[in-house]
Amino acid sequence: MVASELTQYVVTGLLVGGVYALMSIGLALIFGVMRVVNFAQGDFMMLGMYLTYYYAVVLGIDPLVGALVTIPPFFVVGLVLHRVFLARVTGGGDPNREMDAQLILTLGMSLIITNATTMILSPMPRAIRTAYATQAFAVGPLLLNQARTYAFFMALCLAAAVYVFLTRTDLGKALRAAADDPEAASYQGINVRAMHGVAFGVGIALVAAAGGLLATYYPIEPNVAVNFIVLMFVAVVLGGLGSIPGAFVGGLAIGLVQSLTLLVLPLQLQNVGVFVAFLLVLYVRPQGLFGRRARTV
């Protein structure tokens, strides 16, 4: 195998992984702060794709920008959904019992979103026609698809912004406090319930933005989430529950593993490589790559 071929595999994997990474951060935030398994995460991504499509086709806004502009409306939607539905079954007491209820609650949400979208917007696939989806940057012997490269860098920037938000701003720190130890946080005067709402809002805003970036090269239809949802969850757990950088690395890792698996396995078994790698990592590090070890007695 020539070095440039190998590099091409690595680069391809990273570019794919970048968008997985952004998709996963939102989920990780929601997981980390609320302990919610959001079944509907992929469907919010799909809605983000549709909104970006609307921006592009009706308002003429380039999807790379449009993706960013999905963030404010989705943040608000997230706050509202949390307040009306999720708050009813979370933030109460026993996290074990709560997870059960949230699973089904978000599952119900997912069904409503996909089916309503199919009925209202029709199942006909749509796409944003960008010139850069079929063009590549030639970097030496390597070919980097332009759309994916732009999406990768945007994803990186957004992830960095989230990181700064969480570590430098007061709101971000309050979020992390609420994630780490809700009881202690409430003693500090942090409104944990409100923090849950913020986390949910930011979480789905991020995945909507990821959808917008994805829409620069991927067609849009109501059931698109099904192609990504499992990978999202795998990335978050691989990175370590509750760790945002972990989820990002997890997403990149999955993209990389998917690509490099082709060096050893036939194309049909590509995702087997991902799942096997996932299991191996967890067996060696049960808390995921960046997760915190469970407390001892």
Partner: protein, 405 residues
């Protein structure tokens, strides 16, 4: 519970009490009912809706012309059932629609796994069933009530290869190297198998790329990279999952790969392709299909386009259109709406006239004892300037074929 939560819960509960969305339309007792079990919601809703459009058009035509004459002008009524997105739901839909009323015949279900399950139900309920699915295994089970109007995948492979080789030779660009790229769905697998195992070799063609993936495909780079490196003369292409296919085609353009793409199946010639990748990219790509508008069907296509707003007509609505007409002919010959009688009529039918026969190339409808259409041949369809046209066989073509590399 806060007031807001209470209100929301009440709204949800009311939504639950929405069971009857209008009463079902009034049906005369002696109407002939045809079941249509296709995905109408979920991942494959688009395909199911296209099939429904074709069936509805045929039914309107037939009823407008006076219905089934042998049954005193009985009208045809469509009973659609949503196959959803799982085999369980598809089989439930079939079971539901076949036990609720007396169904004379049925059509469906697009996805070959759904068709396999649905035809089992039809076989047990003894209701004749028509399908456009290509997979060989559908008519290899010894069933008496299943009728497959499309040529089977393995036969298509042989015929398509002959046609392509012929075309290439006539244009002085003989085929020496071939590529097989596609997913592992049944029809594609059945098509590629004979090519891979004997047909290509028999023609002295070297198989240079053989890449099969499990949908969804994360990235097409490795596949198209191989195409670029080996420069095959023809690529047999079976990406039935729309996003996968788009990724491959975009990558082909991105890498500047120049080759002849021969799609396997009608999924490649739908309007959404034009909207997604544009007509330049699609130009000259061909597909092997079971049915496509033929010379002489211009009126039909115009009517369809006007009715539905679709930019053109493709295999799915065309086949269900033909199937409905075929059932009508069978009912006329059987002089009965009884499913067993219709089945017997279909088994011995020999139809050369009428919309059904003119749709299903080469214009004669007869079934063998397995339920396969005797003499069924595939068509080759080509994208030209943003619309797919039948190019082979030449006598039924609506446009001449364009060949370039």
């Amino acid at each position: 519970m806060s007031l807001l939560s209470r209100a929301v819960t009440l709204a949800l509960a009311l939504l639950l009490a929405l069971p009857v969305v209008g009463p079902p339309p009034a049906v005369a007792v002696d109407d002939v009912k045809i079941a249509l079990v296709v995905p109408l919601s979920g991942r494959w809703a688009r395909q199911g809706q296209l099939k429904k459009m074709g069936a509805e058009m045929a039914i309107d035509e037939i009823n407008a012309q006076g219905g089934i004459k042998a049954l005193g002008g009985a009208k045809i009524v469509l009973r659609e059932a949503d196959a959803g997105d799982s085999v369980e739901k598809a089989v439930s839909a079939a079971q539901r629609v076949l036990t609720r009323e007396k169904i004379s015949a049925g059509i469906g279900s697009w996805l070959s796994s759904f068709t396999l399950g649905v035809t089992e139900v039809a076989e047990r309920q003894q209701v004749p069933w028509l399908t456009l699915s290509y997979a060989d295994n559908i008519t290899e089970r010894g069933f008496k009530y299943t009728f497959q109007t499309s040529p089977v995948s393995s036969a298509q492979a042989e015929q398509a290869l002959d046609l392509v080789v012929e075309l290439a030779k006539r244009n002085n660009q003989p085929i020496r190297k071939a590529a097989l790229i596609g997913d592992n769905t049944a029809a594609t697998v059945f098509f590629f198998k004979p090519l891979r195992e004997k047909l290509l070799q028999a023609k002295g063609i070297e198989l240079v790329v053989d890449e099969v993936w499990t949908p969804p495909l994360p990235d097409a780079t490795s596949i198209v990279q191989k195409l670029r490196a080996t420069q095959p003369d023809v690529v047999f292409y079976g990406a039935t999952n729309f996003p996968d296919s788009i990724q491959v085609l975009q990558k082909v353009k991105e890498f500047g790969v120049k080759t002849h793409i021969q799609g396997v199946g009608a999924w490649l010639v739908t309007p959404e392709y034009v909207k997604t990748v544009g007509k330049e990219l699609l130009d000259n790509i061909q597909a092997v299909v079971a049915a496509h508008p033929l010379k002489g069907q211009e009126e039909l296509v115009k009517k369809f386009v006007q009715r539905t707003g679709e930019p053109f007509m493709t295999q799915d609505p065309l086949c269900s259109y033909a199937h409905v007409w075929l059932i009508k002919e069978a009912a006329e010959q059987a002089k009965s709406a009884d499913p067993k009688a219709i089945r017997d009529a279909l088994a011995k039918i020999d139809l050369t006239t009428g919309p059904a026969a003119s749709t299903l190339s080469p214009g004669r409808i007869r079934f063998d004892e397995r339920g396969r259409r005797i003499g069924a041949v595939p068509l080759i369809v080509q994208w030209q300037n943003g619309e797919p046209f039948t190019v082979v066989p030449v006598n039924l073509a609506t446009r001449p074929v364009v060949w370039h590399k």
